[in-house]
């Protein structure tokens, strides 16, 4: 059994009009079954409204399945007694950095999670230090979050989750509100967590360049999983991705265009190096 597993997961919410009458039911997640191996770097793609955020919130037990089951490290998320264990093991980073930082000083914010877990004071300090170092924000520990850039704030949010010693971390479009430099900082920090600390990462994003190094990619559409595979397998299907309102990295797109023009190039070129060898230069 993987660290995260879902079986026939369905999530529906009821739309109501202004008087509170039921207008209809929307199925945001539809029959999703997946199995995520411990230590993997997983990417989830999908256009706005494809259900990927809703899926992510199930992993942290913020939402509960309407039908089906979600297991985090073997614990059923609908088991209320396990709620806090699940939230400790599967941390979550959200899109807007301003709306998830609670502390008025960086180090206090990182300490918030361990405080909630009842970790002894001395150990909180150790955890805060190691977490801030892991994301490269230790020198900013005394700063007010308001004085940091977007990328720095997101790294603080990530440190806040690591300090809870999770086995898995879900990042829900952590780079959507950042500039290119901020995006790079955050992705670098996330990759380091996965490589060095061995934390399972589930990254939800719109930016194709961010997922080239993922072990596995899921593409969501209309609440269900439309595509599943390695980045290369996914990016080989340029036309299919475009149908799903997505994109491919620029070099993949160029290779695809060249192939269409008759050159003998394999599908799913991911780097410039690969393109060079495909062109036999």
């Amino acid at each position: 059994m993987g660290i995260i597993e879902t079986k026939d997961l369905v999530f529906e919410y009821i739309r109501r009009d202004e008087e509170g009458n039921v207008e209809g039911i929307t199925r945001a997640v539809d029959e999703v079954t997946l199995d995520i191996k411990k230590g993997d770097f997983i990417a989830v793609l999908g256009h706005n409204g494809s259900g990927k955020s809703t899926l992510a919130k199930h992993i942290n037990a913020i939402l509960y399945p309407t039908e089906g089951t979600v297991w985090v490290d073997g614990m059923d998320t609908s088991d209320e007694e396990k709620l806090w264990d699940i939230r400790q093991e599967a941390g979550m980073v959200f899109q807007n950095p301003d709306n998830q930082i609670i502390g008025q000083v960086v180090e206090e914010d990182v300490g918030f999670g361990p405080e909630n877990l009842g970790v002894p004071t001395k150990e909180i300090w150790e955890r805060v230090e190691e977490s801030l170092k892991a994301v490269g924000m230790y020198e900013f520990r005394k700063y007010s979050p308001n004085k940091l850039s977007g990328g720095q704030k997101q790294r603080v949010s990530i440190a806040g989750v690591i300090a809870m010693h999770p086995k898995c971390i879900v990042l829900d479009e952590p780079t959507a509100m950042l500039d290119p430099n901020g995006r790079k900082e955050v992705i670098r920090a996330v990759r380091a967590l996965n490589d060095v600390e061995g934390i399972t990462v589930i990254l939800i994003t719109h930016y194709m360049e961010e997922i080239i190094h993922a072990d596995k990619v899921f593409v969501m559409d209309k609440g269900s999983i439309a595509m599943e595979g390695t980045p290369r397998e996914i990016f080989s299907q340029v036309e299919r991705l475009k149908e799903l309102r997505l994109d491919v990295p620029q070099v993949t797109l160029l290779a695809h265009e060249l192939k269409k023009a008759g050159l003998d190039i394999a599908d799913g070129i991911l780097t410039v190096q690969e393109l060079i060898s495909a062109l036999k230069l």
Binding site: I62, G91, M92, I102, P114, N116, G118, T121, N146
Partner: protein
């Protein structure tokens, strides 16, 4: 730029006063305010003034920062002085048209002025030397006994500290929304009161919606980080009394005693 506003205008430096436990500072400030209302003679005010000066000196906060806080109350101060000066009955000294200044009036007015000035300065010393964070911690701890009668002390303190964190963010957002609406020809300045109030709708609706969304997001983020109220919670920076805090308490008690003796009994 609005983000740089720090509420309570904390002045960063290292001094004995800064290092004191925030509870000591909070209690001392309360005692000081009480002392100002106990004493009603000049000796008492001189003692209160000396005590204040000593604390300011120890805090290493430049005096001009103390004065800055006074600007906000100049108007209030004037009203209090004028009312006391003219409306206190007693032995007339000067009569201007229908208004009479009495000996008692002068006395009361000057006492009132001194009281107000000391009060504001005394509280400024606290806010200038204590971070808002520390202050909420102190309030949480001092109000702790109220938990017995089901007062949600932890929640109140948490609300205060979240408010402190979000005020600068919402101020900046207000600025952005105003600009976005001005760019669409909105006018927040001209017109009569009703028109002005109406013109605030395009500002307030996006602001409220944003504040609610932020609140919602924040609640979710807090839950995701296992927040479940004050129970089982440990503290990263627990408040702990040290020797200097005990000394400070003794000094405060002595000060209060001196005030009562000189300002009240010896009268």
């Amino acid at each position: 730029m609005l983000r740089d506003i720090t509420l309570g205008q904390y002045y960063q430096t290292d001094s004995v006063i800064h290092r004191l436990d925030p509870r000591v500072k909070l209690v001392t400030t309360l005692c000081y305010i009480i002392s100002l209302f106990i004493v009603d003679n000049w000796i008492g005010y001189v003692i209160a003034g000396l005590f204040l000066l000593a604390v300011i000196k120890l805090s290493k906060v430049p005096f001009k920062f103390m004065i800055r806080g006074m600007k906000a109350i100049v108007f209030l101060l004037l009203i209090a002085v004028v009312f006391n000066l003219f409306l206190t009955p007693g032995e007339p000294l000067v009569t201007l048209w229908k208004l009479t200044i009495t000996r008692e009036g002068i006395r009361l007015a000057s006492f009132m002025a001194v009281r107000l000035v000391f009060l504001i300065m005394g509280s400024s010393v606290m806010t200038l030397t204590t971070t808002p964070n520390n202050l909420t911690d102190a309030i949480e701890k001092l109000l702790g006994p109220l938990k017995v009668i089901k007062v949600p002390v932890h929640e109140i303190a948490m609300m205060m500290s979240i408010a402190l964190r979000f005020i600068p963010i919402l101020l900046e957002e207000t600025d952005k929304i105003m600009k976005a609406q001005i760019a669409r020809g909105a006018d927040f300045e001209s017109g009569n009161l009703i028109k002005k109030a109406k013109s605030l709708v395009p500002l307030l609706v996006p602001l409220f919606i944003s504040a609610f969304r932020r609140a919602n997001d924040l609640a979710m983020a807090m839950e995701a980080r296992c927040y479940r109220g004050g129970e089982h919670r440990t503290k990263m920076k627990p408040l702990a009394y040290r020797k200097r805090d005990a000394i400070a308490y003794i000094i405060v008690v002595c000060y209060l005693a001196v005030c009562i003796v000189c300002g009240k009994i010896l009268w």
